[in-house]
């Protein structure tokens, strides 16, 4: 959840208007999840399919060529684990 919006009612913007465009980037949707993806690097072939299918666009390639999810945004939907052609991703309790 955006730290900006988590405030006393007195500090909330008039009419709950958003005055900073793009502040959805500060919205921590990661705290919605129950399960988080974990990649088995032994099985991963670095194809990037998980990154393509991620509806949250929160999976990107790291320096070693693997595709970890950004847990700040990851809602734990499990689509990456489902689409992985090598079953390298498992959903574990967060």
């Amino acid at each position: 959840m955006s730290e900006l919006a988590i405030c006393a009612w007195q500090k909330l913007e008039l009419g709950t208007v958003i005055t900073q465009p793009g502040n959805a980037a500060q919205l921590r949707t990661g705290d919605w999840k129950t399960l988080r993806p974990e990649t088995d690097t032994e099985k991963c072939i670095k194809c990037g399919m998980c990154s393509i299918y991620c509806p949250e666009f929160c999976i990107s390639e790291n320096e070693e060529g693997y595709y970890p999810a950004d847990l700040f945004y990851c809602k734990g939907c499990g689509i990456c684990a489902n689409e992985c052609p090598k079953q390298a991703i498992s959903m574990v309790m967060d």
């Binding site: 959840m1 919006a5 988590i6 909330l12 008039l14 005055t19 465009p21």
Partner: protein
Amino acid sequence: MTKAIGLEVSLAIAEAVKQANVDVVAAYPITPQTHIVEELSVYVANGELDAEYIPVESEHSALSAAVGSSAAGARTYTATAAQGLAFMHEILFITSGLRLPVVMTVANRAMSAPISIWNDHGDIMAERDIGWIQIFAENGQEAYELTIAAFKIAEDRKVLLPICVNVDGFILTHMIEPVTFIDQKKIDDFLPPYSPALTLDPDKPATFGPVGVPEVYIESRKQCEQALLNSKAVVQQVLEDWGKSCGGKYKLVEKNGNDKAKILFITMGSLGETTMTAVKELEESGESAGQVRIRLWRPFPREEFLEAIADADELIVIDRALSPGAHNGPVAQEIKALLFNESKRPKVHNVIAGLGGRDVTVKDFQKMYAMAKADELGPNYLIWGVRSDA
């Protein structure tokens, strides 16, 4: 213009909106509100009023357009009644939630079915919890003056909430009454141009009406609730200033008749005038009758109301709406809830009167008074004048 002229009240309200110098009128015609917005369309068409007139396809669109134009920083007006108000329902909450100072006349009319174009308060009573400031005018002059004052109240930076001015359909809207217009110069001094706190502006982008996730929604509602509660002091101040600089003196709650009267009628809207005559006649025949008229309905003026009824033993609360399945009509419910924690509580009678335009006369009030004295009005409420076989 300082001399009273005979004029249909709808046209006086249109004049008020013109004199308030609105930027946008978005409206859809519905009886008995039509004459107001029709007259405004004439003003805009002939250049007397420099405003955008948006003739929409429904009331839902009328208020939606009003929300948009108010968010864009324009002084905005609309008007409706009954089914039209009901059709606005979801947008009513959005207008107050976004803190937009739209001014709306509600020409109070009974809800269908059966279809009734005549007056009662069933329309606005179904919209009690929309978070708008709600005031009731009692006569034509008041409807005219409160409409102008409404803009000043709504646009106050401490308020920034929509406001609806309730006027009884036909009984007020279509009546030709003596109306004294206020000089334009005085109104201009009283009501400066609207200066919004936040607007839709491409150079300074903002999102009006975003999602309020569970972590935010309560605080958002609290902000609106508090603004409505705080608005009472502003309504009081604006009406006081209005009385000094422009027109009549209006209070949130008005008392009439013997100050120490034991039995008080409680009314809202035009019925107060009929009650006034009844109270006068009752007083003349030696009865201890009085009346209290509630002008501000939301926020409810608790302290002012309690002060007004402090010496009364009994209240006859007149409701012009039925709340089926509830213990009382809406106004009586409000008053009983308020009195519950008071140490001194008058007895509360509740009469539901004048539904769907049924006449309520001076004689009716005198009969209610006699029945209250004889304790014949029943414990909860009585629907006045209903024909029954039993």
